[in-house]
Amino acid sequence: MTLRATSPAFKENVREALSDVQLQKALGGGLGFTEQRRRAAEKLPEFEALRDSARDIKNHTLAHLDLYLEAYEERVVATGGQVHYAVDAEAARTIILDICRTAAAKTVTKGKTMIAEEIGLNDFLEQNGVVPVETDLGEYIIQIRHETPSHIIAPAIHLNKEQVEEDFRRVHTHLPPDRNLSEPATLLAEARAILREKFLAADVGITGANFLVAETGSSIIVTNEGNGDLTQTLPKIHIVLATIEKLVPTLEDAAQLLRVLARSATGQEMAVYTTLSTGPRRPDDPDGPAQYHVVILDNGRSAMLGGEFQDMLRCIRCGACMNHCPVFNAIGGHAYGWVYPGPMGAVLTPSLIGVDQAGHLPNASTFCGRCEEVCPVRIPLPRMMRSWREREFERHLSPATVRSGLAVWAFFAKRPRLYGLATGIAARALSLAGIFTGRLRWLPLASGWTRYRDFPVPQGATFQSQWKRRKR
């Protein structure tokens, strides 16, 4: 099974998130990424054309995924790497553990990979005597808190520096207790020193892959810290964990996607480190891993091909959609209850863990459309959330009250004359109820509204009845 989801408890998660003072403070300023992305897009006249190109490359690749996968594998093997296929999370975990065991690995350093979250890799390795150490600064911080990431590229975005200081003091007990940790710079310096030791001591390094390039049999990772590079260069074994839709055909295709990735994510022209890795060290190389393994995982992706949700496989995990989402900005990432938050999580999660588990996610949207507006590969996210709602409707998964309320409304809406009669009655009744102030503080059947807002009552008779009278 993949990582356990709390998505069914979405409403409880939301309540917790909204009353979490620290979280609300962290989210309150708005995620600065939106302004940065806007500026980066403005500075590049070809940005819109690049988005189209990126979308087309992904579509082409998905339409030929079987063939590109075969071509990719052939190149990996030809350059000295090993390819392992895993149908599901359990298979992937087992393969990785076997590689670690064969190498008698005690510590494993990890670059940031959401796939590892998805398959619950860290817990599994620990249970089996292998210690995984997260090296991305944000991931390291949440690892020592025993939390999951709350954003796909900024995992610790929900925390303030006081919380990080508290955790470092709690965990780094070998350091002098009176040391100054009041500034982000001092916290970073401490993390850097501690993780430097781990990098150098690790037996195995595990990274994800932003892209897998079929032409050269390479994996590409993109970081700002350089942790992915230290993870994959220092240990004797480098394992890449990637799902099938990470494939792109050529180096030029990768460049098209790279041009929209960092700009959409953080507003940078390029991330600091974009690294192409192909096979293990060469015979004369003075550094680099002796073994290069790629674990190619399906875990529900192939089932999305050829269907309504295929477009979701274009996602390059930039995080722009969640940065711009008013719902994400109100509740943060943990409320979504699984690995992937925000709009992309709302569309992908039901595909991977079932709409019966994750049904709330595509419903908790105003369809404002900002996500689709900023998606670098133009995924029609609101449309796909609506598709999930259609599936739920067909399967009668929405609450009975909602369904029957809708049925009553539909009965009238399909009969405009009756509708006019009913609304006329409602208009007069509500108008009377609010005759003194013009609004109601409580309205039956709409407590969700009136809990937080006054309800403006109708002016009196309906427009259509007034119009008819006027025109006589």
């Binding site: 070809e46 054309a49 690049l50 190109s53 339409a63 030929h64 079987d66 063939l67 590109y68 996968l69 296929y85 149908v87 298979a91 911080i141 900024a154 995992p155 610790a156 975005i157 925390l159 520096k161 990080v164 982000p184 710079a185 970073l188 430097r196 150098l200 079929a214 032409e215 390479s218 700002n224 810290e225 350089g226 590079d229 230290l230 260069t233 099938i244 050529t250 180096l251 030029e252 460049a255 790279l258 041009r259 940078q268 022209e269 600091v272 480190y273 974009t274 690294t275 192409l276 890795s277 192909t278 096979g279 293990p280 060290r281 060469r282 190389d285 003075p286 550094d287 399906d298 091909l305």
Partner: protein, 223 residues
């Protein structure tokens, strides 16, 4: 059925194909062979002097520093840089012949060692394969000439790049990689844009997260 067979079959079933269709196979073979360029920003498509100016501006925008030097003044530039930042006069390099040929003995106070880094070096110098002016990005390739560990372990990274190797865009660099290295793709190709950084703590941007906190670029032959 192996996992490989299962996954390929699953993909083919979903797409409604057998995998043997000639047009599809041709489309894939063509794309891999032709590697079409796509949209290349006009930004870097400049004559060399303007291209170098753009490169310098982009390196600085990414918090790197950049200097134009003559080849025989590289050791001097390194010594000046280390001194200016109160750093020890020691630097590590790989076996790159272009670096080996430099007059290091002109800088008596500078201790130069060679080989990969094991973490103890505070400064390293590499020679870049090339650079892309469009974003101030350096391309470095792994191997004995320029070991990858020199790019990441030391605190300060000095990178020498020939002006003639500063291209306008990434596509030119990919093509050069194919032409010069052919089938011998190196273990790593690093595209480096500025020094290491993180904003993971309270969204505050700080340099030197795990990789070098200083990136100093020396452009040689660019007058």
């Amino acid at each position: 059925m192996t996992a490989r067979d299962t996954i390929l079959a699953s993909i083919r079933r979903a797409l409604g194909v057998t995998g043997r269709e000639a047009p599809r196979r041709q489309a894939v073979a063509d794309r891999l062979k032709e590697h079409p360029r796509g949209v290349v920003p006009a930004r870097g498509q400049l004559p060399q002097p303007e291209r170098l100016a753009l490169f310098r501006a982009m390196v600085e925008a990414a918090a790197g520093t950049v200097e134009d030097v003559r080849a025989d003044d590289v050791p001097g530039a390194v010594a000046r840089f280390l001194r200016a930042h109160n750093l020890p006069m020691a630097i590590r390099r790989g076996a790159d012949p272009r670096l080996a040929a430099l007059p290091w003995d002109r800088e008596r106070t500078l201790a130069v060692t060679t080989g990969a880094s094991r973490g103890g070096d505070l400064a390293a110098i590499s020679h870049a394969f090339g650079a892309a002016a469009e974003s101030g990005t350096l391309m470095l390739t792994s191997g004995a000439d320029n070991p990858t560990t020199l790019n990441f372990l030391p605190d300060t990274h000095v990178v020498v790049v020939a002006a003639a190797d500063v291209a306008g865009d990434y596509e030119t660099l990919w093509q050069r990689l194919r032409e010069r290295l052919g089938a011998a793709v190196p273990r790593n190709v690093n595209l480096i844009t500025g020094p290491s950084r993180s904003a993971d703590i309270a969204q505050t941007l700080i340099l030197g997260a795990h990789g070098p906190r200083r990136l100093h670029v020396l452009v040689v032959g660019g007058h």
